[in-house]
């Protein structure tokens, strides 16, 4: 029986879709059978980030409406075996699906896959309710910004109200130099406010933008620091104990040289 993990944040643009793509790919690289589920109906992105947009024939709404079977709608990844995407519909809206239908869909997928990673839309309305309906666990994404942390706090409350216990926190786009200068909230500050367990910290990384635009998750790039962070998070999801990457000293001279190399070779 597989596990359904929802990636959510409340606020938009903090990296839910990027995280979903990277964690899914990361878990697949660790030998698991993974399904990515895009619930952002009407504003789908996960297919673009995965570079699978041109393969879509059927989508999530077709599955719940019985137009096709789940297997027909699942898109096999072009690079990795064992990684599948169930895309959202683009020409419909969030009300095309109900939480009960999502629950059933998640239960059906559970039989086939080890992990089902659900990409949740921004907001706390119907789309959010659909996304969390079938979830066993939740990963809450935030960036070190007051507004994102505020929204994350709201989301944690809603998750707990919906019986999804112990959501995990992933802090995205951390810039250690700014934290050091006191211009950005530190990891400790955020954990202090949100009071949930941390599953990972992902540094701000230009490679993410490049890889997202290319449709290739950064987790596969050895040189990318964010990719490394996502690989570690994937291991932690599987229960492995991995220490946080030491981000201090990054953005220094050495990192700049590294970045230059990474940029050239990319």
């Amino acid at each position: 029986m597989g596990e359904v993990i929802v990636i959510t944040s409340g606020k938009g643009g903090v990296g839910k879709t990027t995280t979903t793509a990277n964690l899914g790919t990361g878990l697949c690289l660790l030998g698991k059978k993974v399904a990515l589920l895009d619930t952002d109906i009407g504003l789908r992105n996960l297919d673009v980030v995965m570079g699978l947009e041109n393969r879509i024939v059927y989508d999530l709404v077709d599955v719940v409406e019985g137009v096709c079977r789940i297997k027909q709608a699942l898109i096999k990844d072009k690079r990795y075996d064992g990684l599948y995407l169930l895309p959202a519909a683009q020409t419909r809206d969030k009300n095309s699906v109900t939480p009960n239908q999502m629950l059933k869909l998640c239960d059906d997928l559970r039989e086939e896959f080890d992990y089902i990673i659900v990409d949740c839309p921004a907001g706390i309305e119907q789309g959010f309710k659909n996304a969390i309906a079938g979830a066993d666990r939740a990963i809450v994404i935030t960036t070190p910004e007051v507004s994102a942390v505020r929204d994350a706090d709201r989301i944690i409350g809603l998750l707990e109200a919906n019986e999804i216990r112990k959501p995990l926190l992933l802090i995205n786009r951390v810039r250690p130099v700014m934290v050091k200068k006191g211009d950005m909230m530190s990891i400790e500050d955020i954990i202090d406010i949100l009071a949930i367990d941390l599953i990972g910290v992902v540094p701000d990384d230009e490679n993410i933008i490049i890889s997202t635009n290319r449709g290739e998750p950064a987790v596969t790039e050895d040189k990318s620091l964010a990719g490394q962070a996502y690989r570690n998070v994937a291991k932690r999801i599987m229960g492995e104990e991995v220490p946080l990457i030491d981000l201090s000293g990054q953005d220094g001279f050495l990192a700049k040289v590294k970045k230059l190399f990474g940029f050239r070779s990319a």
């Binding site: 009407g42 504003l43 789908r44 673009v48 570079g51 947009e53 041109n54 393969r55 879509i56 024939v57 059927y58 137009v67 079977r69 072009k78 683009q90 020409t91």
Partner: protein, 221 residues
């Protein structure tokens, strides 16, 4: 639904009479209902020799006897045998009946050369679907994430970057023309194709997509 679960169906086949009994139905009710049904068609049954098969609920031998009695008594039918038949619903071979909004048909849209046509002015943006029973002309661009579905031809006087389905009722004779033809996905009739993953050099000349021998070809106009 209640009617469905409590309804006995009679079917005449080459082998005889088939009675379909809902599985959760009460046996007394079954016998009573069959009795009534047979009585209603007394004239039809009288004197006829029948082999009876029944599906669904399995009956004991006594119950089978009872059933036989009630049928004979109510209509004067002669029952040669009565047997249970294990019946599994046939597995329906699934076909792509519909890929993008217009169902596949046996008779295609006839107006490929001359017929109804829809004109759309302006950019077709992501999340918009143009669905039409006929030919479609877009005067503008079609962006990624948009869908154009037509039972006839599709002409885009601009850049076609979204999904397009011409001959959406299954007609492979339909064509797609665009000033810049680079769709996320191109479908004609029941054939689906997509651009190669490695982007080719960007050309900006008008192109036409047609189907030849079951393959979609794209050629400059």
């Amino acid at each position: 639904m209640k009617d469905e679960t409590n309804k006995i169906t009679f079917k005449g086949t080459a082998e005889g009479l088939v009675i379909i009994i809902p599985e959760q139905m009460d046996t007394d009710l079954v016998i009573k209902q069959i009795g009534n049904k047979v009585k209603a068609a007394e004239k039809f049954f009288r004197g006829a020799k029948l082999k009876v098969l029944y599906r669904g609920k399995e009956l004991t031998e006594q119950e089978e006897e009872k059933l036989k009695d009630v049928m004979v008594k109510n209509s004067g039918v002669i029952i040669e045998s009565i047997n249970y038949e294990l019946y599994e619903p046939p597995i329906v071979e699934e076909k792509h009946t519909q890929a993008s909004g217009i169902p596949f048909r046996h008779i295609f849209f006839k107006g490929l050369d001359e017929g109804p046509c829809k004109f759309v002015r302006g950019t077709i943006r992501s999340g918009t679907r143009v669905l039409y029973e006929g030919n479609v002309v877009i005067i503008g661009d079609a962006n990624p994430g948009s869908e154009i579905v037509a039972s006839g031809n599709v002409i885009v006087m601009g850049a076609l970057r979204g999904m397009v389905h011409a001959g959406a009722d299954g007609n492979r004779q339909a064509i797609v023309v665009a000033l810049k033809l680079s769709p996320t996905q191109l479908r004609i009739g029941d054939i689906i194709t997509r651009c190669p993953d490695i982007p080719e050099e960007i050309q900006s000349r008008p192109e036409m997509a047609t189907v030849k021998d079951g393959v979609i070809y794209v050629e400059p106009l």
